[in-house]
């Protein structure tokens, strides 16, 4: 379903285990990771994940809180947003 897609954006200093830690949160909530991209920007690690929460075992807010908790442990900044905001804003 279109509105079940979310984009997770993670910023911070690069370190070992970021992808694994976030992926484990996704697994816990049965969230399907459909796409991952990563880059560095001004010495910061930036990772983007597109996920589908349509078959997840929890609601959006619980999943978001779980990701935020994990990101805090990793000392990373994270944004969890429904994909629609990007689709609407950047296409005519």
């Amino acid at each position: 379903m279109k509105d079940s897609k979310i984009i997770v954006t993670i910023f911070g200093a690069d370190k070992i285990g970021i992808v694994s830690a976030i992926a484990q949160v996704m697994e816990r909530f049965e969230v399907n990771i459909e796409d991952i991209s990563q880059t560095t920007m001004q010495d910061y690690f930036v990772m983007f994940m597109m996920c589908d929460i349509g078959k997840a075992n929890a609601a959006f807010q619980d999943i978001k809180n779980g990701i935020l908790e994990e990101a805090e442990k990793l000392k990373m900044e994270v944004w969890v947003q429904k994909k629609e905001i990007f689709d609407k804003m950047h296409s005519i």
Partner: protein, 455 residues
């Protein structure tokens, strides 16, 4: 292959995080016409029950939407039918009681402001209109979240100068009754010409007569985003390039507002109303309409060229915004409130911006003389003169204009009125000292203008 563009994601996050992109207000517009009764206590009870029933989920659902898109929804508000009508049939009218009822309901459903304590009197006052205007100062002093607006002129009807006279006195009294808070009562009171019936922004929001039972109207914002985009242009970029850049940003801002508005309206199970295509500044650094004008190449807002820059900005915002949504309404344009815009405050402090220039700017943008603090000893007829001038601009140019000035009690030029929050703080600006009382006291109406021979 990636199914998303990372640059788009980064731009969106940057707009929200660095440049204050937000949904400025989600306003539940609600008819109270079925609350009318011959007993004012019964009316008040019906009003309270209806508002708390319809708006009970507004704040919590708005919070959910905010979380899901990670875009701040700054204000949750309610606009109701002009209260002059709602209290008019009571044998024991008490408009202050209705204001207190609105305030109590606003607290109960956790909205920041509730608008509609007002009347439309461009041709004249009914008994209810008279009583409501009489009650405005007391109502604003005894409530926290109630906003009041009175429409005193229109292009079709002309300007009701008797009402202009009274509103000058009402603004003054509203400030005096809230003297310990720098006259904040007057900051919640606005006088209009050609008032729109679906405006989501305060203090002028109300639910117009032609509106449905209820609707959700959205006010978007984002002056900081526009300013940042213009700062990236080369200094010799021509005006076509400048206008196009503003249009593309306005499109992005508005389409986000449309998404959020439709989602929230669906959750509340009420119709989506309109998007108000406005650039509304906040006191936060960089979130300033004045700074946009300065990014176009003016040393300070107020320099000669300011009105032209604002005209370009206002028009480009509308052009970009209308591409993003089918239903546009409200005030739709750039706001130039002095106290709520750090760039405007600086321009006043530096002596670049005066009341006369602000008045000229209102000819080409959406609102009017907005959140301007003036000396507390300004006579009521001078305030009426400021109102009359602004109404004339609206009437002749077939546009909305408004006046929200605060004659700050016991303070003069050089002092500051301090409100905090979105209302900000304002340096007190001088007004013209010459007398206008004979003109203002003439009463009657300034006739509606002719619609040909346009010059």
């Amino acid at each position: 292959m990636f199914n998303f563009k990372v640059d788009d994601i980064l731009q969106t996050i940057n707009m929200i995080k660095m440049h204050h992109l937000d949904i400025r207000t989600v306003t539940l517009s609600l008819s109270l016409r079925d609350c009318i009764s011959t007993d004012i206590n019964e009316t008040a009870e019906k009003v309270y029950n209806k508002i708390t029933k319809y708006a009970k989920n507004l704040s919590s659902y708005a919070q959910q939407v905010e979380d899901e898109y990670s875009i701040p929804i700054v204000n949750k508000r309610i606009a109701v039918t002009p209260i002059s009508i709602i209290g008019e049939s009571a044998k024991n009218p008490d408009y202050v009681l209705l204001a207190k009822t609105l305030d109590k309901a606003a607290h109960e459903v956790k909205v920041d402001f509730i608008g509609g304590f007002g009347a439309l009197v461009e041709k004249g006052c009914t008994k209810g209109d008279d009583l409501l205007i009489e009650a405005i100062p007391e109502a604003l002093a005894q409530t926290e979240r109630v906003c009041s607006s009175v429409n005193v002129g229109s292009t079709k009807a002309g300007i009701n100068m008797k009402a202009v006279l009274r509103m000058g006195q009402t603004v003054k009294r509203a400030a005096e009754l809230t003297a310990t808070q720098d006259g904040i009562g007057a900051a919640k009171l606005v006088v209009f010409c050609n008032v729109p019936s679906d405006n989501p922004f305060m203090a002028g929001a109300f639910h117009g007569y032609g509106e449905p039972e209820c609707a959700l109207n959205i006010g978007v914002s984002g002056p900081g985003v526009v300013r940042a985009a213009l700062c990236q242009l080369p200094k010799d970029a021509d005006f076509g390039v400048v206008a196009n850049k503003i249009k593309s940003i306005a499109y992005k801002i508005t389409s986000t507002g449309e998404l959020v508005g439709r989602d929230l309206a669906k959750r509340l199970d009420i119709p989506f109303g309109v998007i108000d295509l406005s650039l509304a500044p906040t006191p936060a650094q960089g979130d300033s309409v004045a700074n946009i004008l300065e990014a176009m190449g003016l040393e300070r807002t107020g320099a000669h060229g300011t009105t032209a820059a604002l005209a370009l900005l206002n028009d480009a915002v509308k052009k970009g915004g209308t591409m993003a949504t089918s239903y546009v309404g409200g005030l739709s344009g750039a706001f130039i409130p002095v106290s709520e815009d750090a760039g405007m405050i600086e321009a006043v402090e530096k002596g670049a911006l005066h009341l006369d220039k602000l008045e000229a700017m209102t000819c080409v943008c959406s609102v009017g003389i907005d959140m301007v603090a003036i000396p507390g000893d300004t006579p009521a007829h001078t305030i009426s003169g400021i109102i009359a001038d602004e109404m004339a601009i609206g009437m002749i140019n077939k546009k909305t204009t408004a006046v929200r000035v605060i004659p700050v009690p016991n303070k003069g030029v050089g002092d500051y009125a301090v409100y905090g929050g979105l209302l900000g703080e304002a340096p007190i600006m001088p007004v013209n000292q010459f007398d206008n009382s004979v003109f203002i006291n003439r009463s009657g109406r300034i006739p509606a203008p002719i619609h040909s021979l346009n010059n």
